[in-house]
Symmetry: C2
Subunit: 372 residues, 2 copies
């Protein structure tokens, strides 16, 4: 079986580490021949994943295709699908998700709880919605990694909005932010991972680290699982999905966003769950049985992010100290260049003791810095 | 840092899966461009690992070198070492180990307990040692995976011996066969893994599966650890070593053989220990701190071996059933062709319950077959 991945970043890299447990022949397409995944596949093809011809020609080389980023040429994927190439997820699911307006409309039309919203065509439209503030303005297409998202607290902030089709989402008071990963196979069988919980720095409002399984009441857990599963069922596509959810002060569960691919919130599954999210996607693509989503031990993830003020050849301060922590697993993505905010790696910590997870996560946050 | 691996089999494959957690630039040399490791490195070089020029030229491309098989050109490695290339293990250690006669003499001269032996120059020599039988005849150089080893029960079996320099080892009554993996860094610090225990089929005397940690009395454990550590200290080389040991009926511990590289008996460490043997070797080569050898959970390994009577394109019978076992981790080595006895993959099982390990190992033994 020949399988292709559109995109060659760290998610592709970890997919390929997992692929080497099977006999699959792997193909990767990405513009940069030095990307994190380029050297770990059987066939690397330099190309533009947003270009119709590049994606189409790449897809014709393989039996099955997946993505590690949504910003791919969906028209080419749709043509490939009609020609019998299996695509995980289906192009129709990518088309819904990659546009934030269409994604919100999808939740609404399928009665999937999510925050209230209005659609804005341009920045002037925002003036019709003063009553809706505070809110979050999200550009319809082209946002990535926090870009394309603006908080509009009051009417004085309207100038920060996007002068392009976008969605204005009413701010909700949230108690927790969680993520659930679900794998679905061609038969429609689903494997649901325990939710992971995002822990934010209360001062900077930055994702500090992640804990899994999330600490939730049974009622909230069931609600969250049911809603996440409904998202995947209604997308009506096999593949691997990450559903980000808000738990409100009133214990309501709302979908924030869905990613139709392996996801940052599932990195811990490599060591901490019987079947990793990467292994799960291969099982789905190779028509193998779904894997076991149970945790071996609870875990935390600390992301290794390029430090502010450093651009250039990456150096890892505190790496040796981090590697001495006896229940930490270091993953560096092999990116030569660092820049502020760039995802350069992650560390997973495993422990039956949540206090140990929190303590070690904070320790690593302070120890490990990517400079240049 | 540029690191090279001599040999591109499954051990190289798993080394490269682990390397992708770091920023190391990887090189592999092997004769076969379709070998299990070829597509997982940055630079694959087709070459003969037993040829002086091939090994020398390969070594000049990198900062550090390791091996995944002993049958490499040691002369070239010695020259590279004098020219400043770091080699794990040292060529002097490979030279001792790759010749079974020299290996036995090394144990003897260092007062490391091992079975009694005599050296034979040719088959006629065996007639001088009738009193020494039953014994095991091992060819000095060129043995691999059970080839080059003959059991000589009595003088009628002498014709099965080797007509070449060899070592005749007195048969010992053993209670258990165990293996200990040890990583040693350039500073001489050592990390010792818990022993693994080989479980043999009592009828066929074949390795059936492996359990780890081995069930040993504290006294035997300490003895085994001390002896294994002495082997590595006396080899006086950084690197990753597997020491195979016999526990006799009298609870004596004898060294059987040493491998100066990552080893089949350490596959379970990928999932079941905090730091895998592969990760450990990278830590040593990259001058990182040693990792944590503790088990996360006890584990078993079942080797997936080409079935008798099948030669050709490999097919895996019972793979789907095996993948349904909820605490099993399947590793296929990506070898296209199967033949009887060929190592095609392995399955690791993790459980806190040894009975569950034994039960699942036996189940997988009967389920999973490599045919053609």
């Amino acid at each position: 079986m020949k399988a292709g991945i559109l995109g060659g970043g760290q998610l592709g890299r970890m997919l390929l580490q997992a692929a080497a447990n099977y006999t699959v022949e792997t193909y990767v397409m990405e513009n940069d021949a030095h990307c994190p995944a380029a050297h770990l596949c059987h066939h690397f093809i330099k190309g533009d994943i947003t270009n119709f011809d590049d994606v189409y020609n790449f897809g014709k080389m393989v039996d099955a295709l997946t993505i590690e980023i949504e910003s791919v040429n969906v028209d080419a994927l749709e043509k490939l699908e009609t020609e019998g190439i299996k695509i995980y997820p289906k192009p129709s699911a990518i088309r819904i998700i990659k546009n934030k307006i269409r994604q919100k409309e999808f939740y609404q039309s399928n009665e999937i709880p999510s925050s209230e919203f209005v659609i804005t065509k341009n920045i002037a439209d925002l003036n019709d919605h003063h009553h809706f503030l505070p809110a979050v303005h999200k550009i319809g297409e082209g946002g990535y990694d926090g870009k394309g998202v603006q908080v509009i607290k009051n009417k004085d902030h309207i100038t920060k909005g996007f002068d392009a089709p976008a969605v204005l989402e009413k701010m909700v008071h949230i108690k927790k932010e969680i993520a659930i990963i679900i794998g679905m196979n061609d038969k429609g069988e689903a494997a649901i991972y325990p939710p992971a919980e995002m822990i934010f720095d209360p001062l900077l409002n930055l994702l500090d680290y992640q804990l899994s399984p999330a600490i939730l009441s049974e009622k909230v857990l069931w609600k969250a699982e049911a809603i996440a599963l409904k998202v995947v069922k209604q997308l009506n596509s096999a593949g691997l999905f990450a559903i980000e959810l808000f738990v409100t002060d009133a214990d309501d569960v709302l979908v924030n966003e869905t990613a139709p691919r392996v996801h940052n919130s599932g990195h811990h599954t490599i060591e901490a769950n019987y079947c990793s999210q990467y292994d799960m996607l291969w099982r789905i693509m190779l028509q193998y049985p779904l894997g076991n989503t149970k945790p071996i031990l609870p875990s935390a993830i600390v992301n290794i992010i390029g430090a502010e003020g450093f651009n250039g050849l990456a150096k890892y301060e505190g790496l040796a100290e981090t590697l001495k922590i006896d229940n930490a697993f270091v993953h560096l993505y092999g990116k030569q260049q660092t820049k502020p905010g760039r995802k350069m790696g992650h560390v997973t910590i495993m422990s039956k003791d949540y206090q140990d997870l929190t303590h070690k996560a904070n320790k690593i946050k302070h120890l490990l810095k990517v400079v240049s």
